[in-house]
Symmetry: C2
């Protein structure tokens, strides 16, 4: 972190999920910052992140997930991914030392048939990566705001793969490091729909009574 101010622990308490006590600490404390410190992520930790993603579950164990990765130690590669992001995301994501674009193989390797769960399973793998980031004291922030078609062209993603998400990874830093319009989100409480809006019984929108 060198000379940059350390984030106040009490500020980040707003990012702890307001949930029941049994929820795993990684799930409870993962969140998506926009202010990243200049501290690099070690090659060992990077490997651990992708190892975690590697062990997600997938339909027919197809493992449709792919990750294209660049760090600031290779400025040309880093810039190549950064340039794909929409302006709003470039502004803050450029503070992160690692950028990733994900992709998902749309067909099964064993049959060539369409894999309707490709994106679903690729999302699971990214969730693993994000929780593993939390376990390592890192943060990962997923983004939909980038040019998917240009990503395909620039990175050479084949037609048989769907372009997934962009992800910024690094160590969190103080909100004050960001331009003003990004700061409020760094400290505001995380919000979710109530449970009864996402969990139903065996009929749509009927309550589940365990």
């Amino acid at each position: 972190m060198s000379a940059t101010p350390k984030p106040e622990p009490e500020v980040r308490k707003t990012k702890i999920a307001d949930t029941v006590p049994g929820v795993d600490p990684l799930i409870r404390s993962r969140w998506s910052p926009r202010s990243f410190s200049s501290r690099m992520v070690s090659p060992e930790d990077l490997r651990t992140l992708f190892e975690a993603a590697r062990w997600a579950a997938s339909s027919y164990n197809e493992q449709p997930w792919r990750f294209l990765v660049a760090t600031k130690s290779d400025p040309a590669a880093y810039q190549k991914i950064l340039n794909l992001l929409v302006e709003f995301n470039q502004q803050w994501a450029s503070t992160a030392p690692v950028l990733v674009i994900t992709a998902a193989k749309k067909t099964f390797s064993h049959s060539g048939a369409p894999n309707r769960h490709a994106m679903y399973d690729a999302g699971a793998a990214l969730a693993y990566l994000m929780l593993q980031a939390t376990a390592l004291g890192l943060h990962a922030h997923g983004m939909a705001g980038f040019d998917h078609e240009r990503a395909r062209q620039v990175l050479g993603i084949p037609d048989d793969y769907e372009v997934g998400a962009a992800v910024a990874i690094g160590y969190v830093d103080a909100p004050e490091k960001l331009p003003e319009q990004y700061r409020a989100g760094e400290v505001s409480p995380r919000q979710r729909k109530p449970l009864d809006q996402i969990v139903f019984g065996a009929q749509w929108e009927q309550p589940f009574k365990p």
Copy 2:
């Protein structure tokens, strides 16, 4: 578990991921059994599972994930979901006390525009649920093998939602409880592609050198 034989700990060691030491224990030890004990999942643990799913990250915080849930304490509801599964899955999934069908909202609530990350984010939420299951001593097994269109009709899933996965949830039991053709998978080591087949630099299939 009552009178059913307790699984041998040394047998299930084959299900621990062969990975680097830093990978989180939940990620390392989650796997997808087919033999579930008749032990029910408590309402409190069920709530914790869906609370965990609730805190996944999503594009624009849309939270597109939905879960339709039935347990064996409501046999009609349980049968309704079990009947959607392909025969191969019904055989083993009928041992699990809880069955779930997931869905993902295909459009953004704030704009009505298509949400290309709906399935991706719903997959992340299911990944959280699965890891939370591991944290609670439970297991969750996702399935693509069910009739997606009949699920939509029977459960009343609206057109604006994509049908996702089916999931069996419960406590693991001995492989011997299953018909013979399902047993080998209960003890065989988990397999994944090598890391260099899923992680590239900022160009497709070029190695990532951190």
